[in-house]
Subunit: 157 residues, 2 copies
DNA sequence: GCTTAATAGTTGAGCCTTCAACTTCTGACT
DNA sequence: AGTCAGAAGTTGAAGGCTCAACTATTAAGC
């Protein structure tokens, strides 16, 4: 920790470009969803995960892991989604501490209404701007980053 | 807009991996900065941009553009930074509407103190997990995304 | 069986961001 | 000079996120 390994010129360029692209992209997607579907992207993801479960419901902690969200964040989010009638909380049968979040029909409808516009935006801003090769490259790069953060190497300070 | 071009399996995989990686990465970086330097990443970027200006100051609107931030966000942020004594507002000489944000010595010191830990985190979580080739690939990909969002093709609905 | 540690989830305060006004000033046009 | 559209910044309210407590329940160790 005594002397710092600064970024090289190439690394610096990449990092700033990545930062810029990601900021722009996420802002654009969030704005599109907020405007056209009345929800932030994190809520959209929650609905997606629930919709993919056969029972359209999932344990809170599992849902938090899947959406890479803190339990606190998820708890607040589900409370909001419940107010809108898009999600219900159901007590867990086997564990009295547990809660299941269940997607309601209204929630499914909201998701179905939001999806086309969102996918179009993801295409317009990201997927359709890349070659098939780049799609593969980005997938690999993202995988490496996820693996690195999930399995902290050593100190992590 | 009548029928939707959903993502292919490959595209879907990439998109989710990218989403996951970016969420994890930005959360990790934000937490590191907040914990060790007491500032969110957006504030760090503001300080960086100011520090790179010869006069250590910049017009508010220019700074907003450079940091990809809304004017409102920047205004709030600079207010916060001013409270901490890291930035000062200075009236613009040539345009009475204008304000310049100026990095103070204390602000520069705070940035200098924060930088090593932040760079180490960027390395640990991103740069050092990629090959030189991947650094170049990601730079190119990010550039394409930025170009696409900056120059909206057509409808953008 | 009893104690203790760990898990599941919630809550409230504080902070950051967004959005939509709003004020002030400049520049262009007449 | 006079008008008026647009630019520069700010502000306050509303909503989402983080952090640190906190409750309730389960699992583990003795």
């Amino acid at each position: 920790m005594t002397d710092v390994r600064w970024l090289s010129a190439d690394e610096q360029r990449m990092w700033r470009a990545y930062l810029e692209a990601t900021n722009l992209l996420f802002d654009a997607l969030d704005r599109q969803l907020q405007r056209d579907a009345g929800m932030p992207h994190t809520y959209y993801e929650i609905l997606v995960r629930l919709s993919e479960s056969p029972s359209r419901s999932m344990r809170m902690s599992r849902l938090a892991d899947r959406t890479r969200s803190s339990r606190s964040r998820l708890s607040h989010a589900v409370a909001r989604l419940e107010e809108r009638g898009w999600v219900e909380r159901v007590d867990c049968a086997t564990d009295r501490r547990g809660q299941n979040a269940r997607l309601t029909d209204a929630g499914f409808a909201a998701l179905a209404a939001a999806a086309p516009g969102h996918v179009a935006a993801v295409r317009a801003h990201l997927v359709d701007r890349l070659t098939a090769e780049q799609v593969e490259q980005l997938g690999r790069i993202a995988g490496a980053v996820v693996a690195g953060i999930e399995a902290p190497t050593s100190d992590s300070s």
